[in-house]
Symmetry: C2
C-alpha cells in the first residue's frame, strides 16, 4: 500500500457536485406515483382544551383524500418519555401541537382543507418559564404528574465536597448564564414520505440522521415489528441534530399513508420549521467556582434549569453532555452538578450541534476568564494550568487518551496576537474599540455511547471494473462523511479516491449503524470501513497469491496493483485479479465486511460516570472584535482557531466544518434567537431571525493540531460539532477585553452591550 | 433445522400482492425531478437512403429540449456483431430503424416534434426472405460484406456420418418446417430512464434481465468504464427474453439525457412494441431423420435458414440451443447440423422464452410422430426407446445427470388418456373430430454458460429484529425468483418465509449475477442464496456457542431458535442471538455471503461441443384437440403435462410457469404471428395480433416428476422456459391424430388446416 495517497489530501467532496449543480434529489424533491401531499393544522393557543374539531367543510375540498384528527387514530405515544401524541384531541400544550392532518392530491388542496378545519378551544392559563411552571399554583401540564419538574431526567454528578473546595479557594465566583432558544436553520426543511406495500410493510423516506434508530423507534411507536419498516434517506439538506428523534409529523405522514393506501409526503414550510420544529435547548446555568490565588481550580458547583417545553425530546437530555464538561473539563477536585428540566407551554427542544456543550462552554469559558482576572493571571496560562492532559482518566471515569489542548491554546492565542493585542483596548475609530478573547472546549471525538451499541457496519465490494463500492450504515447529512469514508477505503486499498462509490441510505441494504450524531461518523464508521477494506485487501492478496503461485507474504501492493516483491513487472491490477477470480472455474466475488464498536461504556444514569467516547477532541478559539460603544454593536474582525482533531483526513472538509461551526457559533453568540411571545414564535422567517450569512463571516485562521489518536482511523478524531462550541464565549471574553463589560446571556445583542456600557458608565460615575 | 418448512410449500408470491394491487412501481411509472420524455422517429421504408433530415420545425415546438439525429452523436455501434447504430444517418435497413429522437417536457410535446421532423428518402429495393437475400443480384445490406449470409455466426455440428446412418435406416423422412415471427407480448412495454450525475456517472433504470451484462455492454457501446454506469431495475412488467440485449432506444435515452443534462425517460407504446421491438427468431428447418424398423434413430440431418432481419441481436444466435437439441436430444449416432442466418430488410430478432427450442422442437417432435407412424410404432414407445437416460454424456459432451424423460412420457400420455383415445378420431359433433397428441422436450435447467461466468453472488444479513435480508444479483422479471430465493433462504435458516426480504435491483448494491436467462435463476442464484444463508447459519451457531459456552456441535436449531441439544429449554431466537452479538462489547453483525458458478463449460463455437448446463430438464406435454373439419378451426380441450423439474420449490410458482408456458405455446402453435407485409408490421395491436387470453386457456393437468437433481438447490432444476416448448408440436400431432393432416408451419391457422383437409380430400378422391 502506498502511504497517504488519500489521507490528508484536499479531495473534492463526494456529494458536492451533485448538490451545487442542483441534481441531487432531496426528500423535498421526491415524487412517487399516486403520491398525496400532507399538511398539518397546529394549535392556535399555547395551552387550551380542545372542545371540538369540525372537518366537514375541509372534507368537501376537491382533491382531499384523508383527514385525520386524534379521534381517528389509535392511541399512540412518542418521545423519550412517551409524553407526546401525533394528534391531540384533549389538551394542547404549545402552539406546535398537531390537531389535524390532511392528505390531498395537491399541496394547495391540502392547505385549503387545513384552513377550513374549525377547532373550538377553551383557553387555559399557560406557563412559559420554568420558574413559573414550578410555582405551587402552576397548572400541571401533563396529567398524572405531581409537578412540572421532570424528575425522571434530572441529572446529577457529585465528586468530593464542593463546600470544602470553596473553603480551600482564594477566590469564589458565582454567576448565572442564560441561553436562548435557536433554530437549526438547515437549508432543507423537515420532510417525510411514507408508503405501505401490499403486505403492510412500511417504507419511510426521511432525512433522519439515525435510520436504524428511527426504524426501531417507529416500530415501538406504531406497534409494528422493526422488520416491517424500511427507512430510506434521500439526499439530506442539513440536519445539525434536528433529525435524531421521531416527531409527530413523521408519525402523521405514516398514518395518512396508511389510511389513504397511497404514498404521502409532508414537507415543512420555512415557517413551520421556525415555529413547530424543535429548538436548541434553552437553559439557565448557575455556575460557582473556586480557585486558589496561584490558579488551581478547587471546586465547581453547577445548577442548571432547563425550559423543556411541552414534551421531552432530546433537548432536556442534553445535560448528558453538560455533565461531562462540568465534571471533567479541566482538573477540578470537588464537583457538584445538578440539572433540572421543567415542562412549560413553550416549544419542544431537540438535539443540536454540540448538544449541551455550547451552553455549558458559554458559562464555563466566560467564568474561566473572570476567575483568571480575579487572581490576576493570564487567561491562557490559567487554562493551561488546569488543563486536561494526555492519558488522564478523570474522576468521572472519562479516559482521555490523545489531548492537544495546551497546543491549541498556544496556537490560537499566538495566531490572534495575544501578547501584542490583549488588554490594549485599541481605539480603531470614533466610538470603536477593539479587543481579543479566547475560549477553550472539549467534546467527544470517538463516538459517544448513548445506545447499547455505538457501532457501525460496512461492506466493501470490488467488481470486475475495479469499482470499489462501500456499503455503509453511515449517514451523510452534508458533513462530509461520504468523502472521508471513501478516502479511508481508497487509502487502505491504494486505489484512487474517485474509484470508490458509496451506498448508505437504506436500512434494508446497509449494515447497521447507530446514526450520525456526536461527531462520530469519521471515527466509528471510518473504522468499520477501514476494516471492510482491509478484509477486501486480504482477499485480493489471497487471490493474487493463488494466481501468482506465491504466498501472500511474498506480495506487495501499490496504486491498485499487486505484484510479487521480487518481480514487480508481473504486477496485476485489482480489477484483473477480481476478474480472474470471478471467471475462473467455480468463481468467486470479493466482498469484505467490517464492524466497529468502540471500547466505551454508557454514562451511568445514577452517578453520571462512564467513559462514553473512545477519544476526546480539544480546541481553542480566539477572536478579535470591534465594539461600537455608541450602539453596542459588535463586529467580528477575525477568528483564529486551533483544533486537536487527531489527524486530518480531508483538509477541505475539515476547514468547511470548522468555518461553518465558527459562523454558527457567531450566530449563537451575537444574533440568533427564536423570539417567543406568549408561546408564539414571532420571528419565523429569515428576515426577522438574524442568521449570519457568508457576508458576516470573518476571516478564520485554522490551525490543525495533529495528535494522532491511537484508536481513530489513521489517527483521526471527530470534528463535526467541536467548532460550534467555544466561539460564543470567546466573543464574550473579547468584548470584555475591548470595553470591560461582561454579558451573561446570549445572544449578545447591541442592546445588551449598550445597556451594560451604560450601566458601567453609571457605576463608574458613582465611584468617581 | 426443521426440514422442509418452506420447500415445496404453496407460499404466496413475494412480489404478487404489490403487482395485483397496483402499488408496484414499474419503469413506466418512474418520475424523476426535472425528467424529460423521449420519443423516437422510425424509418418510413424498409430499405432506403436518407437524403436529408430537417428538424427545424420540430425544434420550435414548445417544451422541446433536445433533438438528436445520427449527425449529432458520436459514431456508436451496438449489437452482437456491432452492425447496428442508435441513430441512422445514411441507410435505413428496416422500418424499425431509428432516425431521430426528441426529449421534451411532456410526451405530447415530444410526439408533436417527432411528427414535424421531415426526412427525405431515396427508396431502395428491399429483400425480405433469406432466399431473396442470398440471390447473386441481391443488394448487400451491410457495406463491406460479400453477401447477406452472416458467416460469423453460422453454427454446425457433425458427429459420425449421416449418409452412413441413412443407409442403415429402414425409413428416412425429410420435411421442412417453417416458424413465424412472434412478439413477446409482455404486459409492460420497453422502457428506459437515464440520468447522469454531476461527475458524469450514468444511472440507467431499465427492465433489463441482465443488469450486470447491460452495465458491461453499455460501457463498451458508450466508450465509458463500467464503473461509471449503474443499472437499476424498477419493477419489471415481464420480459420473456426480450431484454437480454442493449437496443438502440436505450442508447438513445442515454444520449438524450447526456445532451439535456436532465433525466430522460422513454416508454414504448404498444404499437412500438409490436413494430420496432425484436421478435422471436423466424426459421425454416429442413429435418431429415432415419430410423430402423424396430425404432432406433440412426441419423439426423438438420439444415436451418434463419431470417436474421436487418441487424444481429440474440435471435440469429439461437442456433446455440437448437444445436444442442438436434445434437443431443434422443440418442442418435450420426448427426449433421448447420444453421445459416441471413440479413434481410425485416425485423430484428431477439431472444425469447425457449430460445430456439420451440422452433427446434416443433420440427423434431412433429417428425418423431411421423417416424413412429412410418414404422408402425406407438409414438410414446418410440420416444422412450430413443430417450436420453440418467448419467448419460452425449457425444456432444453434454452431461445429463438427473433425467426423468421416460417418467414424463408415461405420465403425460396416461393423463391424456393415451390408450383409450389415441387414433379413435372421435366424432364429437357435426364436423367435429377429436384427437390427442403428445410431444417431448428438453432444455437447460442448471444454468447455461453463455458468458465466461454463469455465476451469481448473494449476501444475507440478519438484523436485530430477526429480519433476514437477501441481497442477490438475481433479477425478478415476474417469473417468481424472488419467491423461490426467499424460500431457499428461509429453509436453510429455518425461519418463516415472511421474514425474508429481498433486495435485487441495483448493480451498485447487489453482488454480480449474469442475469435472468436460460431458466437459471432458481438453480444458480438459489445455490448462491443457499450458500450465503448457510454462512449466516454458521455465524449464528458460532455466536450462540459463545453465548451458551458450548461447542457448535452441541447446538441444534429449529424454527429460528438455537438451543443446546441437551437443554432445549434454553433456546434463544436468532434475533436475540444477533442482538447479543451486536450489543456485546466490541459488537459484530451477522452478514453472510455466497457465490455459485456451476461446473459447466462454454459451447465451442468451432464444433458445438460442451456441457453448457449443470442440469437438464425434461418434459412431455399432451393435448386433446377438437378440429372443426368445416372451418379448420382447432379447439384445445385440455392439456396434460409432466415435467421433470428436479424438485418443486413452490408448487404455485411452478404451476404458474407451466400454465403460462402452455398457453404461450398454444398461441405460438395456433394463433400468433407478427404479420409483415413489405417490411411493415400490419397487425401491431392486440386486436389484430391474436394472443390467447385466459378464456382460451384449457384445463391443464400438471404432473411434477421429482428427480432430485444432485447439483440443484434442494434438488431443483430450472423450469422457466421448458413449459413453452413442446405444446405446439403436441397440437400438430393431435390434429394429425384427429383428422390425419399434418401442418408444417406455425401458426396452425384454420386456413392451413382447412386447405390441408381439402388437399387430403382431393388426394383421397384421386386415389379412389
Amino acid at each position: 500500500m502506498s502511504s497517504s495517497e488519500c489521507i490528508g489530501k484536499r479531495l473534492i467532496k463526494k456529494d458536492g457536485l451533485e448538490k451545487v449543480t442542483g441534481r441531487a434529489i432531496y426528500g423535498q424533491d421526491l415524487v412517487l406515483p399516486r403520491m398525496l401531499y400532507g399538511k398539518i393544522l397546529y394549535s392556535m393557543y399555547p395551552y387550551a382544551r380542545i372542545l371540538s374539531i369540525d372537518t366537514s367543510k375541509a372534507k368537501r375540498v376537491p382533491g382531499v383524500r384523508v383527514i385525520l384528527t386524534g379521534y381517528d387514530i389509535p392511541e399512540i405515544r412518542l418521545g423519550f418519555l412517551r409524553d407526546n401524541y401525533p394528534l391531540k384531541k384533549d389538551v394542547v400544550r404549545w402552539t406546535g401541537d398537531e390537531i389535524a392532518a390532511v392528505a390531498a392530491e395537491s399541496e394547495e388542496a391540502a392547505e385549503e382543507a387545513i384552513d377550513l378545519i374549525e377547532v373550538e378551544y377553551e383557553e387555559l392559563d399557560p406557563v412559559f418559564t420554568p420558574e413559573d411552571a414550578l410555582r405551587p399554583d402552576a397548572p400541571i401540564l401533563h396529567e398524572g404528574r405531581e409537578s412540572n419538574r421532570i424528575d425522571e431526567i434530572i441529572r446529577t454528578y457529585v465528586k468530593g465536597d464542593v463546600e470544602e473546595g470553596f473553603a480551600e479557594s482564594d477566590v469564589v465566583l458565582e454567576e448565572t448564564y442564560e441561553l436562548q432558544h435557536i433554530q437549526h436553520c438547515t437549508m432543507g426543511t423537515y420532510n417525510c414520505t411514507a408508503a405501505f406495500d401490499a403486505f403492510g410493510r412500511l417504507t419511510i423516506w426521511s432525512p433522519t440522521q439515525v435510520p436504524f434508530i428511527m426504524q426501531r423507534d417507529m416500530a415501538q411507536i406504531l406497534g409494528m415489528s422493526g422488520k416491517d419498516i424500511r427507512i430510506v434517506q434521500p439526499v439530506i439538506g442539513g440536519a445539525f441534530g434536528k433529525a435524531l428523534d421521531v416527531y409527530p409529523f413523521e408519525v402523521i405522514t405514516v398514518l395518512l399513508a396508511k389510511k389513504a393506501r397511497r404514498p404521502v409526503k409532508i414537507v415543512f414550510t420555512r415557517e413551520e420549521e421556525f415555529t413547530v420544529a424543535c429548538k436548541r435547548q434553552a437553559a439557565k446555568i448557575t455556575l460557582k467556582q473556586g480557585v486558589t490565588k496561584d490558579g488551581l481550580l478547587k471546586a465547581r458547583k453547577v445548577d442548571i434549569i432547563m425550559n423543556a417545553g411541552a414534551y421531552v425530546s432530546w433537548g432536556p437530555l442534553s445535560s448528558w453532555t453538560m455533565v461531562q464538561t462540568f465534571g471533567s473539563f479541566y482538573k477540578v477536585p470537588h464537583i457538584s452538578f445538578r440539572c433540572v428540566p421543567v415542562y412549560t407551554n413553550m416549544p419542544i427542544c431537540g438535539s443540536m450541534r454540540g448538544y449541551g456543550n455550547p451552553q455549558a462552554h458559554f458559562a464555563l469559558e466566560s467564568q474561566m476568564d473572570m476567575l483568571a482576572e480575579a487572581i490576576g493571571m493570564d487567561p491562557v496560562e490559567f487554562r493551561k494550568k488546569n488543563s486536561n492532559t494526555p492519558n488522564e482518566t478523570t474522576h468521572q471515569g472519562i479516559a482521555i487518551t490523545s489531548c492537544g489542548y495546551i497546543e491549541c491554546l498556544e496556537a490560537a492565542s499566538k495566531d490572534i496576537g495575544w501578547k501584542e493585542k490583549r488588554g490594549k483596548k485599541t481605539q480603531s475609530g470614533p466610538n470603536k474599540v477593539r479587543g481579543i478573547g479566547l475560549a477553550g472546549m472539549w467534546h467527544v471525538g470517538g463516538g459517544s455511547r448513548i445506545y447499547r451499541s455505538d457501532g457501525c457496519g460496512a461492506i466493501v465490494k470490488i467488481d470486475d471494473f475495479g469499482n470499489v463500492i462501500l456499503i455503509t450504515g453511515a449517514s451523510e447529512i452534508g458533513q462530509g462523511s461520504d468523502t472521508s469514508l471513501c478516502q479511508i477505503v481508497a487509502e487502505v486499498l491504494g486505489v484512487p479516491y474517485e474509484k470508490v462509490t458509496l451506498v448508505n441510505n437504506d436500512t434494508d441494504i446497509t449494515p447497521w449503524d447507530v446514526g450520525c450524531h456526536a461527531s462520530r461518523t469519521t471515527f466509528i464508521c471510518g473504522k468499520a470501513a477501514l476494516q471492510a477494506a482491509q478484509d477486501v485487501r486480504s482477499q485480493l492478496l489471497k487471490a493474487a497469491a493463488e494466481i501468482f503461485g506465491t504466498s501472500v507474504d511474498e506480495l506487495e501492493t501499490k496504486d491498485g496493483i499487486i505484484y510479487p516483491k521480487d518481480s514487480p513487472e508481473k504486477g496485476m491490477p485489482y480489477d484483473k485479479v477480481v476478474r480472474k477470480i470471478h471467471f475462473r472455474s467455480g468463481g468467486d466475488l470479493i466482498i469484505g465486511k467490517g464492524f466497529y464498536d468502540p471500547p466505551t461504556t454508557l454514562l451511568s444514569p445514577k452517578d453520571s460516570r462512564g467513559n462514553v467516547s473512545a477519544a476526546y477532541t480539544f480546541a481553542s478559539q480566539a477572536v478579535e472584535v470591534e465594539v461600537d460603544t455608541r450602539t453596542g454593536r459588535v463586529e467580528i474582525l477575525r477568528a483564529a482557531v486551533a483544533h486537536d482533531i487527531g489527524k486530518v483526513i480531508n483538509p477541505v472538509g475539515l476547514e468547511g466544518q470548522i468555518e461553518g461551526g465558527v459562523v454558527m457559533a457567531m450566530g449563537y453568540g451575537l444574533y440568533e434567537e427564536t423570539q417567543i411571545e406568549e408561546g408564539r414564535v414571532i420571528n419565523p422567517n429569515y428576515a426577522d431571525y438574524h442568521l449570519p450569512t457568508s457576508l458576516d463571516a470573518p476571516p478564520i485562521n485554522i490551525k490543525m493540531v495533529e495528535t494522532n489518536d491511537p484508536e481513530g482511523p489513521f489517527g483521526a478524531k471527530g470534528v463535526g460539532e467541536c467548532a460550534a462550541i467555544a466561539f460564543a464565549p470567546a466573543i464574550a471574553n473579547a468584548i470584555y477585553d475591548a470595553v470591560g463589560v461582561r454579558i451573561y446571556s446570549l445572544p449578545i445583542t447591541p442592546e445588551k452591550v449598550y445597556r451594560a456600557l451604560q450601566q458601567k458608565e453609571n457605576q463608574g460615575q458613582k465611584k468617581d
